[in-house]
């Protein structure tokens, strides 16, 4: 079997699959379970300075093409989250802490807290499409992306990875702004702003009305975004959006991603999705006598 271990922005992982933020990552026990199921790294729920309950239900709509959600950033707050991070680190997981906030100071403070708990890196949730005043507006301003990235970089010594929104006209310019701010890697993409309506009830189903679409429907959007970002920056990219199988991950890798994240597919394939995707990438490579995953990164660019 080919060696699929990767090192991205200095973070070593046994394979290129990571748990995407928002899935089974509010508790240490669940993050550990995902680690044991085979994920190369786990990204935490987005954590803020204070506990937050999120929106009332319905917060999730199951669709044929994926999931629509507006959970509204529920999290126990940075203080209480310490024990959850500790539990997952003690169990051997590679943990990336995801951060949200209302301004650059909040991002930096929470990131500092997570770094002090021992996380291997920080992901900046700059792009949650369904939380008013918390990321949505930031995602629409290249200057804010640069400024927030720089503010966090100034406070922590671990790699910082802004997660970008696809809900912009030119995602590559946002990746450049993040790189200018000192980002060590780019995570793309967050969910696509979307809505589902009940014709019977004549009303949006989500209590917040708008939500973020994830799952297979958004994979071609994510692959396109990663392709564009790869041409615009020199830092590594983590691809995310609709990956269910090894060939999906390979699309992202050939578009330019050095690692991938998986979330929604857990609902369909269970936690074995991490092992399955890793195994499917390995089989693809073995059948073609490809020894280095690195040689496939960006392979679709002419």
């Amino acid at each position: 079997m080919p060696d699929l271990s990767v090192k991205i922005a200095g973070i070593s992982m046994r394979n290129p699959t990571m748990l995407a933020s928002g899935f089974l990552d509010e508790t240490g026990a669940s993050m550990l379970r995902v680690h044991r199921a085979g994920a190369g790294a786990v990204v935490t729920k987005s954590i803020g300075p204070q506990p937050r309950t999120g929106y009332p239900n319905p917060t999730i709509v199951e669709l044929d093409v994926g999931l629509l959600n507006a959970v509204g950033l529920p999290n126990p707050g940075i203080e209480e989250f310490r024990d959850e991070v500790k539990l997952s680190l003690d169990g051997g997981a590679v943990v990336i802490g995801s951060v949200y906030g209302k301004d650059a100071d909040e991002y930096a403070t929470v990131a500092q807290g997570l770094a002090s708990y021992g996380v291997a890196g920080i992901e900046l949730n700059l792009s949650c499409p369904h939380a008013k005043g918390l990321g949505t507006e930031i995602a629409q301003s290249t200057e804010a992306v640069r400024e927030f990235t720089a503010a966090v970089k100034a406070k922590v010594n671990v790699p910082v990875m802004p997660k970008l929104s696809p809900n912009v006209a030119d995602i590559a310019s946002f990746a450049q702004a993040a790189e200018d701010g000192g980002a060590d890697a780019i995570v793309a993409i967050n969910t696509v702003k979307a809505m589902a309506i009940s014709p019977d009830l004549r009303t949006p189903i989500l209590s917040y009305r708008y939500g973020g679409l994830s799952g297979p429907a958004i994979r071609p959007i994510g692959v396109r975004c990663v392709y564009e970002i790869y041409e615009a920056v020199d830092i590594p990219i983590v691809g995310v959006g609709g990956i269910v199988a090894g060939r999906d991950a390979l699309e992202y890798i050939m578009a330019g991603a050095s690692a991938v994240q998986i979330g929604t597919a857990i609902a369909a394939r269970g936690l074995s999705v991490f092992d399955n995707v890793t195994g499917e990438i390995a089989s693809f490579m073995a059948e073609r006598r490809i020894e280095s995953l690195k040689s496939l990164v960006g392979a679709a660019h002419g």
Binding site: T27, K45, P56, I60, E62, L63, T264
Partner: protein, 258 residues
């Protein structure tokens, strides 16, 4: 995955003063102990075990919060959203089964009581509530076997908690399976009694939920998820649990007492 179905309520029946049964048709099948997410439009979406299976399904709800109180004013013909079914079922095994229900927990276990009976098991039910006027589904349980009543205030039959009455029965009769649903500390006492006697047991748990499909982590319980690994857990699982009977999580994921 369970697609949302918006369906009219066929009937609304008041079981006791604050507890109502809402019945509807849905396209999916469901087993005893499984739950659905029921959307009360304009208010909330909540996990509910089904109190009626079959073609016409039902949930039986104690009106205790804003959403469930609003739901109490819903009439036949009003629309609700249902998606599911989710979670596992009670394992219908055993020849002589003790079912212990507390309060509205009876709504989640009555389908299992009927399933045990249909599988030709001898079913003995302990039905407990705070007082006589809060007992539900007594007649349905009687169709399936012996029913013993306990009330916390002594307003009817055994004066005390359901586990104390269950213990008396377990001390005098031999059961080969125990199933329970109700307040968690009650279930803890029942599971402990069964484990002490080496009787296989199962309990149906309740936790705050958002997704119902095993991804959001809101219903984390030890290293299980109540929505996909449960809601029914075995005595063998629960005897090792740190959270059972002691810890649940609020909507923000903070650990709080049960």
């Amino acid at each position: 995955m369970g697609r949302l179905e918006v369906v009219p309520l066929l009937d609304v029946v008041r079981e006791v003063h604050h507890t109502l049964t809402y019945r509807f048709r849905a396209s999916f099948g469901v087993g005893p102990g499984q739950f659905i997410m029921i959307w009360i439009p304009g208010y909330d979406e909540l996990p509910m075990a089904l109190s009626y299976l079959g073609d016409v399904k039902g949930v039986t709800v104690h009106a205790y919060g804003d959403a469930t109180k609003a739901f109490a004013s819903f009439k036949p013909g009003d629309l609700v959203g249902v998606r599911g079914p989710y979670g596992n079922t009670f394992a219908i095994q055993g020849e002589k089964v003790l079912c212990v229900a507390g309060g509205t927990g009876m709504a989640s276990i009555i389908a299992a009581i009927e399933a045990f009976h249909e599988a030709d098991a001898e079913v003995v039910t302990v039905l407990g509530a705070r007082s006589a006027d809060e007992l539900i589904f007594e007649e349905r349980a009687k169709q399936c076997g012996e029913v013993h009543i306990s009330t916390d205030d002594g307003s009817r039959a055994f004066h005390g908690f359901a586990p104390a009455l269950a213990k008396k029965l377990m001390d005098t009769e031999k059961f080969d399976a125990v199933a329970t649903c109700g307040p968690e500390r009650m279930m803890k006492a029942v599971i402990d009694l069964a484990n002490q006697r080496g009787i296989p047991s199962q309990a149906s748990l309740e936790r705050y939920m958002k997704c119902g499909i095993g991804i959001c982590d809101a219903c984390a319980f030890d290293d299980y998820l109540v929505c996909t690994d449960g809601p029914v857990f075995t005595g063998a699982q629960l005897v090792k649990s740190k959270d059972f009977g002691s810890v649940r999580r609020d909507a923000s994921g903070r650990r709080i007492p049960v």
